[in-house]
Symmetry: C2
Subunit: 354 residues, 2 copies
């Protein structure tokens, strides 16, 4: 019996509703497997914690997290009460940085039963590999002067180490998939960072002669994700470009409420963190109608990462089954509750695996 200790941060808003549902699903899968067990420890960090304690998590939060195998996060943010830069930089981004989760991966896949806004989406199945620790998000810069003379500077810092790491990860992943990797660049407009990005890409792909590789400017890439998404497989992108492309990925799937993400510590020195792309949706929090599929699909990414890809595949099948059956929450124009969706998925898994 293999046991995993999972630090579980439901976070804010609907995170508190969908995380327990995803845990139920993962526990079911573990039970059905027979040799796998999750030990969940709930850490009540987030905006409520901030309003009480003046910080988003305890001062030794990162140290606490290091004791776990992985981190399962809901969603963070209550913009009405806590400014985004506090809630995000005090928890989400702090963990990404502090635990060296240098790679972020996010699938965009045409799921059965989901209604893409595209007329002819094709059968796209994209994995965006996003550099997750530096680049445009380097938090370096500041302001000078005031009033009409005020100037703000934001420094994007790209290291060869960080850039190369993301690209190698993407190339390795392409090798296991359809052997195609596309780099998102903007070297025609951003005259220092992106020519550097292109140089590193050029050097890295030289080590992967069997891959079909190319570079596309971010503006064209955003358009192509709409016009011909099935031409992409693995995309490697900077922190900001990855952020934008993955929301486009959600949109063409038919929902930005459903995509999952993994923040990976690729050296396995510290735990990785799995989180859905969606936010905390304060407007529908507490009503029992939040869509749990993003959090549940996030569970699949965690299973895959832990080496249980077969279980992960069953889980994605179960998600598609619930969609095809029309057991959809209101964001997908259905009437199902959060619990009804979870129930459908659990029943499917039991029937399939028992």
């Amino acid at each position: 019996m293999k046991t995993y200790k999972i630090a579980t941060i439901p976070g804010d808003g609907i995170g508190k509703e969908v995380v327990p549902e995803a845990m139920r699903v993962l526990d079911t899968l573990a039970e059905l497997d027979g040799n796998l067990k999750f030990e969940w420890e709930i850490l009540p960090w987030g905006c409520d914690y901030y309003l009480e304690n003046g910080e988003m998590m305890p001062e030794n939060g990162l140290e606490i997290l290091k004791n776990f195998d992985q981190i399962f996060l809901g969603s963070v943010g209550m913009p009405e009460l806590v400014p985004d830069h506090i809630s995000l930089w005090g928890l989400l981004i702090k963990i990404r940085r502090g635990l060296k989760q240098t790679i972020n991966i996010r699938p965009a896949k045409l799921l059965k039963g989901l209604d893409s806004p595209l007329k002819n989406p094709g059968e796209f199945d994209i994995m965006v590999v996003r550099e997750n620790s530096e680049g445009e998000y380097s938090d370096s810069g500041g302001r000078i002067h005031s009033d009409a003379d005020e100037i703000a500077i934001q420094n994007a810092i790209f290291t060869r180490k960080g850039t190369e790491r993301a690209m190698r990860y993407a190339c390795d992943l392409s090798n296991q998939r359809s052997k195609k990797v596309t780099s998102a660049t903007k070297s025609n407009g951003l005259s220092h960072s992106m020519p550097f990005w292109d140089d590193v890409f050029h050097d890295v792909v030289a080590d992967y002669p069997s891959l079909d590789q190319n570079s596309v400017h971010i503006d064209a890439m955003a358009a192509y994700m709409i016009m011909k998404p099935s031409e992409f497989d693995v995309i490697v992108a900077s922190n900001l470009f990855g952020d934008i492309l993955t929301d486009i990925g959600g949109a063409i799937m038919g929902s930005i409420g459903i995509a999952p993400a993994a923040n990976l510590n690729v050296s396995n020195e510290f735990p990785s963190m799995f989180e859905p792309v969606h936010g905390s949706a304060p407007d529908i929090a507490g009503l029992g109608v939040a869509n749990p599929l993003g959090q549940i699909w996030t569970g699949k990414l965690m299973l895959d990462y832990l080496g249980y890809a077969r279980l992960g595949d069953h889980l994605l099948e179960a998600i598609e089954y619930s969609l095809v059956q029309g057991i959809k929450t209101r964001d997908l124009k259905g009437q199902a509750t959060t619990k009804e969706v979870t129930h459908t998925i659990i029943q499917y898994l039991k029937t399939k695996l028992e």
Copy 2:
């Protein structure tokens, strides 16, 4: 009779084919109007010029351009022969900067007869106002160290003056349209530039109490452009975000080959420059099948800017007429030649206005 001296730079690739077509259309309109005349001077600048002279335009190119009322540009780039950073920074971006064309505007509009890739596009009619002189494109930064230790830095520089100018332009424009303006931000991730951007927006919209205004993060905005484009009217965005959003705009219209752009010198100290968003498409250059609609629509923007909005409206009608008639070039899955499209448009205008 009002005469305008237009510096005409066909540029590279299909630019050389579509610029003369758009000139024919504009001349037709001027003739029909009776009180308007264009004097075109062709400036053969671009990559061929570079291959001969080692520069994209003469050293005194900017001085030459200052003698004209406006600039009508085709497209720039021959990536096989001249690296993009030379062709673009030596002509397109050099003119934008040198002639203080600080605002870039680009419509994204659902045209009749064009096939949007979206199932339910709604009747969107968006105008993106892009800051065109600074921000992420500031060309400030560099590299340090080599090999594994190499680091590249790109500085995005935002001045209050430049930011405010773009936002005021956007607010004034909204006032003439549906009184709605949306700012593209990313203040939750980019911790210096975008909070500054938000502050300036906050200050500017205070002067426009009758406008419906809001801010949306660029990742969500990219997704919403796909999911509900008709909810946007005027969008104001930084140089990079505007670049990305306008290509998305082209994609949801059904073609990135059709959208026009205007680089505006808002103080009218120097000429403005009108250019289609599409590139030089070297693969189809010289075949007579390039789509002239981007260049022709660019002509409408120039007419609007010169104060001939009624003629501009007729021109857009004529474009829609040609599309509805199915007189489409191959990029739009039709079989028409460049000249056939132009002919259809000219005939429509003659019938309508004669």
